[in-house]
């Protein structure tokens, strides 16, 4: 049933439309144009296969770009524009999820992974450093020597 929806059109194997979206809005201020580019790349086309509204040529994206242009020219701040878009389509439209209780884990996750990884490495290293001497067993040493001997210089 979803397939009959009008905007969806024909589903190709690659649903990536290769039709560049090129529009020629005239901005009153180059700074607005820069913000337009920035915001149009951060907003997701609600009815596309993972595309921002800047790259999508779906009619809905065209409308959203027009709306974005008007809002910028009317002096809206980035925050107001994003809140307004989220008000219409939900958090889904933001490629940069806002930071809140639910998304805290998303934003802090990588930092936590890094801390965990660092801790893991630190513990592994500390264990290795307790005995300064080489504790290889004789057999291990022999094998290693034989391997290293195959190259005089030992790199990587």
């Amino acid at each position: 049933m979803m397939l009959r929806r009008c905007y969806l059109g024909v589903l190709l194997l690659l649903a990536w439309p290769a039709l560049a979206v090129i529009e020629t809005y005239e901005f009153s201020d180059p700074e607005l144009e820069a913000r337009y580019h920035e915001l149009s790349q951060e907003l997701r086309c609600p009815k596309c296969q993972n595309q921002n509204i800047a790259d999508s040529n779906a009619p809905i994206s065209e409308d959203l770009r027009k709306l974005l242009y008007r809002q910028l020219e009317a002096g809206a701040s980035d925050r107001e524009i994003l809140d307004d878009m989220v008000g219409r389509y939900g958090e889904f439209v933001r490629y940069r999820p806002s930071f809140d209780a639910k998304t805290a884990v998303l934003w802090l996750g990588p930092l936590a992974f890094l801390v965990l990884g660092g801790l893991f490495a630190f513990l592994a290293l500390r264990g290795r450093n307790q005995g300064r001497d080489d504790h290889m067993t004789e057999s291990e040493r022999a094998r290693l020597e034989s391997m290293l001997a195959s190259r005089t210089d030992q790199q990587q």
Binding site: C6, P59, D63, G87, R88
Partner: protein, 179 residues
Amino acid sequence: MPRRLKLFIPLGLFFILSLLLFRGLSLDPQELPSALINRPLPTFSLPALGEERTLRPADVTGEPALFNVWATWCVACRVEHPYLQQLAEEGVAIYGINYKDDSAAAQQWLRDLGDPYRVNIVDREGTLGLDLGVYGAPETYFVDAEGVVRYRHVGVIDERLWKGRLEPIYREMRGETAP
């Protein structure tokens, strides 16, 4: 044997991940709930189709109703149309939002296929559509007597869907219990 137990951590993490992936198989990542649920209909001031008046939210609210987004360019809307007609005959209040369409063509369509709508809001530029968060047609919004959006259905409404999922929602809006 705690050292050995540590080695089970990757397996445990993978198990959790595969449960999520399994759940993911039955979800549709394309299905978007409306952001407008439990919020009032956005304000608008738009012409009525084929009439010389301007419609505002107050003109179309007051009793629970369906707001059906449609257009003549929308193939699926033609599929849906006869069933809307039938619902209207059964007394369901349906308002039309004629979305980004040519008004003359829309009037012709209603003359040819019948008119299930109490009145049609002409959304020529798609501004109301944007405020509603419409991303295609057909879409149908269920709005209660206070003008608050209760549900949004995306796609064609047919008998099976109406009887199964949508009618209970409509009846609940009317304060009736499902039959």
